[in-house]
C-alpha cells in the first residue's frame, strides 16, 4: 500500500518559487492500476519522481508498506528503487551500447540475480512485451522508438517490483502496440498484484485504469469513483 501524505515540492526560479507538487495526498491499494493526467508542466513527472525516490520532497512523505521514504538514507533508497520500483521513462533511457536483453538484465544484475537466471527472465519479458526474438540481441540504437519502449517496459518488470511508475508508456507506440501495452499493464496489475501509476496524455489509456487523477497547478483531484481503492482524495 502506498500512502502519500501532504507532499510538497518547490523549486526556485529566480525570485519565484514554483510548486509543481502542492500538498498532494492519496492512497493506493496494492494491485491498483491508476493514471494521472494533466497538461504539460503540471507536475506529473515531478510527482512520479517523488514516488520513485528519485527526488526528495520539500515537505510531506511517501509511505510504502509502512516505511517512510523521507527518513530513508540514500543507500536504502537505492535498494528501494532496485527492489520495489520499476520505471518506464518517457525517453526510454536505455543504455545505447547494450543489447535489448542486456538492458533488461541490468536491474537483475544489480539485485544479484545469477547470470543464467537473469538472461532467461529477460528473454521471457521481451517476449511478453512482444519484441521480435530476432531483436533481443540487437543494440538499442538499432531498434525503433516503439521497440525501445517495449524494452523499457520489460526492464521495469525485471525485478517484479511492487510499484511500476510509467511516464507516457504508450507515447511513442502505434495504436495497436499501445493497446497491447495497456493490456499488459492491466494484466500485471490484476494477476501479479502490482501497483501501476501511469502518467499519460492518452485519454484512452487513462479511461482503462482503475483510478484516474488529474493534476492541475500542482494539486491532485480524482476523476473516477473509487472502485478498488479506499484512499481519500485531497486536493
Amino acid at each position: 500500500m502506498i500512502e502519500v501524505k501532504n507532499l510538497v515540492r518547490t523549486f526556485k526560479s529566480g525570485d519565484r518559487t514554483i510548486k509543481p507538487v502542492n500538498d498532494v495526498s492519496f492512497e493506493l491499494e496494492q494491485g491498483t492500476l491508476a493514471s494521472i493526467v494533466g497538461k504539460s508542466g503540471s507536475g506529473k513527472s515531478t510527482l512520479l519522481s517523488l514516488l520513485g525516490a528519485l527526488d526528495k520532497p520539500t515537505s510531506g512523505d511517501v509511505v510504502v508498506n509502512g516505511v517512510s521514504l523521507a527518513s530513508m538514507p540514500d543507500g536504502k533508497l537505492t535498494n528501494y528503487r532496485r527492489r520495489d520500483i520499476g520505471f518506464v521513462f518517457q525517453q526510454f533511457n536505455l543504455i545505447p551500447n547494450l543489447s535489448a536483453v542486456d538492458n533488461v538484465m541490468l536491474p537483475m544484475e544489480f539485485a544479484g540475480v545469477r547470470k543464467a537466471a537473469r538472461a532467461e527472465r529477460a528473454r521471457q519479458l521481451l517476449e511478453q512485451v512482444q519484441l521480435d526474438p530476432d531483436k533481443h540481441g540487437r543494440r538499442i540504437n538499432r531498434l525503433s522508438g516503439g521497440e525501445q519502449q517495449r524494452v523499457a517496459i520489460a526492464r521495469a518488470l525485471a525485478n517484479e517490483p511492487k510499484l511500476i511508475l510509467a511516464d507516457e508508456p504508450t507515447g511513442n507506440l502505434d495504436e495497436q502496440t499501445g493497446e497491447h501495452i495497456i493490456e499488459l499493464l492491466s494484466t500485471l496489475s490484476r494477476d501479479h498484484n502490482t501497483t501501476i501509476l501511469v502518467v499519460t496524455h492518452d485519454r484512452a489509456l487513462a479511461n482503462k485504469t482503475d483510478r484516474r487523477f488529474r493534476l492541475q497547478q500542482g494539486r491532485l483531484t480524482e476523476e473516477t469513483a473509487r472502485t478498488r481503492a479506499t484512499a481519500a482524495l485531497t486536493g
Partner: protein
C-alpha cells in the same frame, strides 16, 4: 553482462576516441617505462662501479710510481698495516717485472747497447723471457730509448751515422705478480679463454697472457714459455681492452717475488675501501699509517667519482622523469574519465534510477580506465623496449659529456706517469668513460612488469576521483529533462 564486460564494451564505445586515448597513454606509459629501464640500468651500473674500481686506492713507494722514481720498496709488513686501517676491506699486493726478450738483449749487448730499454726504476726488476713483445717500439719507444735507456751509441738510432746498424729496439713486456684475480688497477681480469691461476698466494708456474701477446708468440691455453730459467704454462688469456694492457702477463705474487729474488717486496698495493663515501677518510688514514715518507697513496680512479656522480645525476633525472611520466599518465586518465563521467551523466542517472549502487557505477568507470591503461601499457611497453636503450644512451652521453668538460682539465695522461701503473687511463674520465658507455639498458620483463604495476596503481588513483564523482550525481538532476 557483468560489470567488467560492460566496462570493456564502454572502453570501445567510440573507437576513434579510444584509439586517440590509447595512443596518448602509450606515449606517457612508454616514456615512464623507458625511464624506469634507464634508471634501473644506471642504478645497477653505479652499484657495480661503487663495488669495484670506485673504491680502489693504489699505494706506491714514496717518490716512485710504476717503473719510475726512487724511494724504498713496499713490503708485506706494510700490506698488513694497510689491511688494519679502518674501512679497508682488502689489500692486494703486486710485484712488477720487466721482461726482455733474451735474444733481443743478447743482440743489444753485442751491438754495444747496454741500456735497460725504457725508463728505469727501482720497483721493477728486469728478467729475460722467451716471449716477444706484441707492441712495436715505434717512434715513441725509440725516442724514449734514445733519451733514457742507452749509453755509448744511443744516438745511433736517430742519426744513422754509424757504420754498424743497431738492432731494432723492442719494448719490454710487463709481468705482474698478483694476489687476486684482478689487474694492476684493481679491476677484475676479463678472461677470454682458460681459467685463473687458482691459488694466488702460492708460487706456481701458471700465467695469464694478454690476447695480443699470446697471438704474437703463437701461444694458446696450455702452451709454454720461459721467464728466466723457469718454464710457465699459459692457463688463461685476458683482454685488457688496450694494446698496452694486452702486451702483459700475470703470474702469482709469490712467483713474481721469486723471479725477482725479492720475496718480501711489493711494487704496489691495491687497497679496496668498503664504500665510496669512506674513500677519502681511508686514504688519509692509510697515508698516515704507512707514513708519507714511505708510501704514496693515490686514488687511481679519482675522476671516477665524477663519472659516478654523473651517473647518479642520470639516475635522478630518469627517476624524476619516470615519476613525471607516471603522473602524466595518471592525469590523462583522470581527465579522460572526468570527461566520460560528464558525458555519461544521464546514463549514470538512469543506472541509479534502476537501482545501481554507487560502488557498482564507480567500479565500472575504474575498470573502464584500467582497460584503456592496459591497452596503453601494451603499446607503451613495446615503445619502451624499442626506445629505452636510445633514451638511456642519450641521457648518459649528455651527462658524461658535461662531466667530461668539467673534469677534462684535471684528467691525467695515459701511460706510465699518469695511471700510476701501465695501463693507460687516458682521456678525461680515464677508464670511467669506457665504463659509462658500457651501461646497457635492456627492458627486462621484471622492470617492465614493475613499471606497469606502478602505472596501474596511478591509473586506479586517477580513475577513482571521477568514479567518486559519480556518487554525487543525483538521478533526478539528469532525468529532469523528462
Amino acid at each position: 553482462m557483468s560489470v567488467l564486460a560492460r566496462s570493456v564494451g564502454n572502453a570501445f564505445r567510440n573507437k576513434v576516441r579510444t584509439a586517440a586515448v590509447v595512443a596518448v597513454l602509450a606515449v606517457a606509459i612508454g616514456l615512464a617505462l623507458a625511464m624506469l629501464v634507464a634508471n634501473q640500468a644506471v642504478t645497477g651500473k653505479v652499484a657495480e662501479l661503487n663495488a669495484s674500481v670506485g673504491t680502489v686506492l693504489t699505494v706506491n713507494p714514496a717518490g716512485g710510481q710504476g717503473f719510475e722514481g726512487g724511494g724504498e720498496p713496499l713490503t708485506s709488513a706494510q700490506a698488513a698495516t694497510a689491511a688494519a686501517v679502518p674501512n679497508v676491506s682488502s689489500v692486494v699486493g703486486t710485484k712488477a717485472l720487466r721482461l726482455r726478450n733474451a735474444a733481443d738483449m743478447a743482440a743489444e749487448a753485442a751491438s754495444g747497447r747496454t741500456g735497460q730499454g725504457g725508463p728505469g726504476g727501482q720497483s721493477a726488476t728486469s728478467v729475460t723471457t722467451s716471449l716477444t713483445a706484441a707492441v712495436d717500439a715505434g717512434t715513441l719507444g725509440n725516442r724514449n730509448q734514445a733519451s733514457t735507456g742507452a749509453s755509448g751509441s744511443s744516438t745511433a738510432g736517430t742519426t744513422g751515422s754509424t757504420a754498424q746498424a743497431a738492432p731494432a729496439f723492442s719494448l719490454p713486456i710487463t709481468a705482474t705478480g698478483i694476489g687476486a684475480e684482478m689487474d694492476s688497477t684493481g679491476k677484475a681480469l676479463q678472461l677470454t679463454q682458460g681459467t685463473g691461476l687458482g691459488n694466488y698466494t702460492a708460487a706456481s708456474t701458471g700465467a695469464l697472457l694478454g690476447t695480443t701477446l699470446a697471438t704474437k708468440n703463437g701461444l694458446s691455453v696450455g702452451s709454454t714459455f720461459t721467464i728466466g730459467d723457469k718454464t710457465f704454462t699459459v692457463q688463461g688469456l685476458f683482454d685488457a681492452g688496450t694494446a698496452f694492457g694486452n702486451n702483459a702477463l700475470y703470474v702469482t705474487l709469490p712467483t713474481a717475488q721469486t723471479l725477482a729474488a725479492l720475496p718480501d717486496e711489493l711494487s704496489t698495493m691495491i687497497v679496496t675501501v668498503n664504500s665510496m663515501e669512506n674513500v677519502d677518510a681511508a686514504k688519509t688514514a692509510l697515508q698516515t699509517a704507512l707514513g708519507s715518507d714511505k708510501a704514496d697513496v693515490t686514488q687511481g680512479q679519482r675522476n671516477l667519482e665524477t663519472a659516478v656522480s654523473s651517473l647518479d645525476s642520470v639516475k635522478n633525472i630518469s627517476f624524476i622523469a619516470f615519476v613525471a611520466a607516471l603522473g602524466t599518465a595518471g592525469l590523462i586518465i583522470l581527465l579522460i574519465m572526468v570527461m566520460l563521467v560528464r558525458e555519461r551523466r544521464r546514463e549514470i542517472g538512469v543506472l541509479k534510477a534502476i537501482g545501481a549502487p554507487n560502488r557498482t557505477i564507480g567500479l565500472q568507470f575504474v575498470l573502464e580506465a584500467l582497460v584503456l591503461v592496459a591497452m596503453g601499457s601494451v603499446v607503451g611497453a613495446a615503445v619502451a623496449s624499442l626506445a629505452s636503450g636510445g633514451i638511456a644512451s642519450a641521457l648518459i652521453s649528455s651527462s658524461s659529456s658535461t662531466s667530461a668538460a668539467a673534469t677534462g682539465q684535471r684528467g691525467g695522461a695515459g701511460g706510465f706517469p699518469g695511471g700510476g701503473f701501465p695501463g693507460g687511463a687516458g682521456g678525461p674520465l680515464g677508464g670511467a668513460s669506457q665504463l659509462l658507455t658500457s651501461v646497457t639498458a635492456s627492458a627486462s620483463p621484471g622492470v617492465i612488469a614493475a613499471g606497469i604495476a606502478a602505472v596501474f596503481g596511478v591509473a586506479i588513483i586517477g580513475a577513482l576521483v571521477p568514479a567518486l564523482l559519480t556518487a554525487r550525481i543525483r538521478p533526478i538532476e539528469v532525468l529532469r529533462g523528462e
